[in-house]
Amino acid sequence: MLKNRIIPCLDVKNGRVVKGINFVELKDAGDPVEQAKIYSDSGADEICFLDITASNENRDTIIEIVRKTAKECFVPLTVGGGVRNIQNITDLLLAGADKVSINTAAVNNVNFVKKASKKFGSQCIVVAIDAKKVSENKWEVFTHGGRNKTGIDAVEFAIKVEENGAGEILLTSMDKDGTKSGYDIDLLKTITNRTNIPVIASGGVGTLDHFYDGIVKGGASAVLAASIFHYGEYKIKDAKEYLNSKNVSVRL
């Protein structure tokens, strides 16, 4: 049967990991390639890079990182952040990314999702949705790292990106992100019930049982986390063994 995926996410800024692994054995704590390799060797099911470089001039840096990582990591690599046009996607895929994650550009123009999935195949188009709760069972899409309100309903938007060819949805709760209090289960449950493509849960993991809740209660196909792994609190293996002990199938 299909296994639930655990995906560590590395935030990269100007070529350096900002929220990164804090392991003592690291030669260079800011090197994204080295960190991706550690995750891949320790059983990560996929690796995710989020490029938070603000300026366009530094876009080439992430391409170079992807190129180096892809030569050493033989698990799927997803890259997001600043993906605005077909050329951005082409560049990332040619460098060795397997999937790209589109956020603001998809909100601005959902037709871009359609164009991209038609050109490259749905298998490599992930749409990242940042959602914030506005009232009971109602969430709104935000862009620019949660700064910009769009007025778009998150559930309706999720359905719309599926219709336009997205292969997966990376769903981040802006309310939960960074809180370590667990995923927004209601948000996850609502979106996984209303869509037929895999949903990756993101934002809020603090303990291992949050992974369990995301998968079992929220219906997520994959769980993404950053800080819980970076600071060495838990290893990927700990998360997998915990889930396995609770009868959630994972790749061991």
Binding site: M1, L2, K3, N4, R5, S40, D45, A70, K71, F74, V75, P76, L93, L94, A95, G96, A97, D98, K119, F120, G121, S122, Q123, C124, G167, E168, N196, I197, P198, S221, A222, R251
Partner: protein
Amino acid sequence: MNVIIVDYQSGNISSVINSFTEVAIGKVNIDVASDINKIKSCDKIVLPGQGSFKSCVDSLNSISGLVDTLKEFAITNKKPLLGICVGLQMFADIGYEEAETKGLGWISGKVSKIDNQKGKYKLPHIGWNEIDIKKNSKLFKDIKNKSHMYFVHSYEFIPEDKSVISATTDYSSKIVCSVERDNLFGTQFHPEKSDKTGLKIIENFLKL
């Protein structure tokens, strides 16, 4: 030994190139090409494929003489060829993704959408799934049954002759995930993205 990864603009083949280059040791030379003369004279072929069945078949057909050359290589001369994902699916007679499209017709059968049982199963089938090895296969030498492989697809190959099936995987039904006949091999999963086990499969192909 010269191995060619066929580049027919079928989408992203960087990962295939990276993993084959990683495994290719010693006398194996990996080349990426669509040149017919190069293909004719090589020892092994890798046929990747991403995107839809139709777009892959159309791209293959757009390179003059390519389909005939591949057929002569793999079917007439029975030299080793490995199809990956849509590369495998194209072995079929017909595919139904986007529009009804004629395949290469190397292994009789069709490529249809996975039955997701009215939404009970998510599509695409993305992630790690176990393979159930069905027959003694050169590709699976030293690969344990129930090994995990990385999948990403919404369509499945249904061959008429079940004896070509070398492995299946369990999703909404038993999905054919690997075929083998003579020196013709195909995997629905992505060995190039399947960690160390996937690299082992690539090594097995290169060692044939």
